[in-house]
């Protein structure tokens, strides 16, 4: 059995870490893969560190990615990179805010989605699947800005 793909999304409470992991998990799910997503609630609205793991593949057991085995680490806040770097496996890819031009984002709170755009270039899912998951997970008035942020990240 092939190993699952491990993605860790990290940041601070209020940045949309859990929203981003929901969207990613749903994209993988709609592609017919086994998916597990793990997160911790409770303290996340109080501005502390938050992270969420998404794992997908033929078969996934643990909902958490083993430490040091993440294929992709998406960090929404630069100061959270050192805290989470140990999650990343050898040869894993770090995706961070400096990879996008935040000035281009019409909605500054959509850094999470813009970084999903960057991540999307590495994953075998269609733009249509991403758009559909984005729309299902966000209120309608935010669709346009977030689809735009996603494109900015994807085309970076």
């Amino acid at each position: 059995m092939s190993k699952p793909t491990n993605v860790v999304i990290a940041g601070l409470g209020g940045q949309g870490v859990l929203k981003a992991s929901d969207i990613l998990a749903e994209v993988a799910f709609s592609a017919g893969l086994d998916v597990k997503k793990s997160e911790l609630h409770g303290m996340s609205q109080r501005g502390g560190s938050v992270s969420s793991d998404v794992r997908f593949g033929e078969r996934v057991f643990s909902p958490m990615a083993p430490q040091g085995e993440a294929d992709y680490l998406v960090v929404l806040s630069a100061d959270q990179i050192p805290v989470n770097l140990a999650a990343l496996g050898a040869g894993g890819v770090l995706i961070e805010p400096s990879q996008i031009d935040e000035a281009k984002l019409s909605n500054k709170k959509s850094v999470n989605v813009a970084l999903l755009g960057v991540l999307s270039r590495h994953l075998p899912f269609s733009v249509e699947a991403w758009s559909a998951a984005l729309k299902r997970n966000l209120p309608e008035n935010l669709h346009e800005a977030n689809l735009e942020s996603f494109s900015i990240g994807r085309e970076q």
Partner: protein, 537 residues
């Protein structure tokens, strides 16, 4: 898996949502509980799916209400976090002796590793201590299936059933589908007197205890034969007995070994465990938390290896299970310290702690967002034990400290916590007042903030935010005979607030100060609920 079929038949949901779906699918009449991470979303999802869900003032009341539902022949679901079961335990131990006409499923959401809790107690011990059958799901599909099985077991043996979940089962999303377990339709609610089965005076409780043990023996035999346990045949050199989410880590860490995964973990399928252990060269138990399964196996004379004591602390995960299996005793890597949570900028609790710090108060505290007052920059909370303890602990400090120090003691607790377990503390204060008097400070931010903005009896709105009866803290305190009762906005009237606390501390009298200002994160939603409710009037 075909992607189109997957999307139509399957769903990616959390364990909490899966329990709610099962409750809907089997016609649960009432879901009740008290919010607590990681259990809160069960009742919220149940309500969102159209179920009748209610927040109770605390877990004990919730369980009592649910017992009534089950005595009426209907199906009841009660949800709480692990420590909530301590509060509800009084009801649990004795309802186990009674005979239910309907079903009663008690969800205990444990928090090994304490992601958001004050302790990491292992509530599997409650099943054993109270004599209540217990199921332990390992993912969302099992959370769904086992909720239905719990209803079935509860009705078949007329007993309450504990559904013991953990943080990673509650809050992980995994793929599941509904309709996997078919159970009978619920009974039509109906009441018949049955004194000997439900009135636990000693004359009736003595035979009831015998009856309970007999039923548990029957369930144990059934569990051996047909319980929801799973055998994975692998190598015969190593066999692992496991339960709950630990199963997932075992499968990932050691895909080649034989596994006996236990679903109904009280009463245990001891003969199946014995058979399994005998079928492999070495049998190990991998479980999160306390050595519950390993002790039970050894008591039954089954030769098993357990985990080293250091793995009793915190959650398990794949890496830790690999360590246990490899006998790796090198120190575990410590996770890099993240940014700790903090009171939000502009949070009304901030100005409260500023004042208390200035007045050099001694602060027995309580459980909620305001517990963060213990961290810098305030460092203004001196104790946190359990819900409502602020008042009792404060009184004890007042009774024993020298007067100069006693006069600095202020009990601090939140609005929802006050309703949960603070009211009896106020009664104690009136009944046994300290010589120096006392000051109780209720931080009323209009919501149960820490668990994610749930309503409570002090907000005057139900779980789904509709208008209902509202408990007034100030009127309650006055009705108890407390003369110094004040309501103040700690932000808008910051200077007055500080003066007020100071003047209360100087009086050898009893005072209740209600610092009332809505939680910043909830303000907008509260305004919207109020607007909708006014329109509905």
């Amino acid at each position: 898996m075909d992607s189109l079929k997957q999307q139509h038949t399957f769903a990616l949901v959390s364990g909490d949502e899966a329990v709610a779906m099962a409750a809907i699918d089997c016609g649960v009449t009432l879901g009740t509980g008290y919010p607590g991470t990681p259990s809160t979303e069960i009742l919220e999802s149940f309500a969102a799916l159209g179920g009748r869900a209610q927040w109770a003032p605390n877990e004990k009341v919730a369980l009592e209400v649910a017992i009534g539902v089950a005595f009426a022949g209907a199906r009841a679901l009660v949800t709480m976090k692990h420590v909530g079961l301590n509060v509800a335990a009084d009801a649990l131990f004795t309802v186990a002796y009674t005979r239910l006409d309907g079903a009663l499923v008690v969800v205990s959401a444990d928090d090994p590793g304490m992601a958001s809790s004050q302790n990491e107690q292992d509530n599997r011990r409650y099943a054993l201590a109270a004599g209540v059958p217990m199921l332990e799901p390992a993912d969302s599909q099992e959370a769904y299936d086992f909720t239905l099985r719990a209803i079935e077991i509860s009705e078949r043996w007329q007993l309450p059933v504990l559904l013991r979940m953990t943080t990673r089962v509650c809050h992980s999303k995994t793929i599941m589908r509904r309709g996997t377990v078919k159970i009978a339709a619920p009974h039509t609610p109906h009441f018949e007197h049955d004194f000997a089965s439900r009135v636990m005076i000693p004359a009736y409780a003595k035979p009831a205890h015998l009856r309970l043990r007999k039923r548990l023996a029957e369930i144990a035999a059934w569990n051996d034969e047909a319980g929801p346990n799973q055998l994975i045949q692998g190598s015969s050199s190593l066999g692992i007995i496991t339960s709950g989410v630990a199963f997932q880590y075992v499968r990932e860490a050691a895909p080649e070994v034989s596994v006996l995964k236990l679903g109904l973990t009280y009463p245990l399928p001891v003969e199946r465990m014995r058979e399994f252990a005998a079928s492999v060269d070495l049998c190990a138990v991998i479980e999160e938390g306390d050595p519950y399964l390993v002790e039970a196996a050894r008591t039954a004379g089954i030769l098993v290896e357990g985990k080293p004591e250091s793995f009793r602390f915190g959650e398990l995960n794949t890496a830790r299970v690999r360590r246990i299996l490899d006998g790796d005793e090198t120190p575990e890597p410590k996770p890099a310290p993240g940014k700790p949570p903090a009171l939000c900028p502009g949070c009304p609790h901030r100005s409260v702690y500023q004042a208390l710090k200035k007045l050099d108060c001694i602060v027995p505290g309580d459980i909620g967002c305001y517990s963060l007052g213990v961290l810098p920059p305030f460092e203004m909370m001196d104790s946190l034990v359990c819900m409502g303890a602020a008042i009792g602990v404060g009184l004890g400090l007042r009774h024993s400290l020298p007067a100069a120090e006693a006069k600095r003691v202020v009990s601090v607790l939140g609005d929802s916590t006050f309703v949960h377990s603070g009211i009896t503390g106020l009664v104690e204060m009136v009944y046994n007042p300290p010589e120096t008097g006392h000051v109780v400070l209720i931080l009323d931010n209009g919501t149960t903030a820490m668990t994610g903005m749930q309503e409570h009896p002090g907000t005057g709105r139900t779980l789904d935010h509709a208008k209902t009866g509202k408990v007034s803290f100030e009127e309650l305190a006055r009705a108890l005979g407390i003369r110094n009762v004040f309501v103040i906005d700690p932000v808008k009237e910051a200077a007055e607030f500080e003066n007020l606390i100071q003047s209360c501390l100087q009086k050898p009298e009893l005072s209740v100060v209600i610092a009332r200002r809505d939680c910043l994160l909830a303000t907008r939603a509260i305004r919207e609920y109020e607007r909708c409710n006014e329109q509905a009037d």
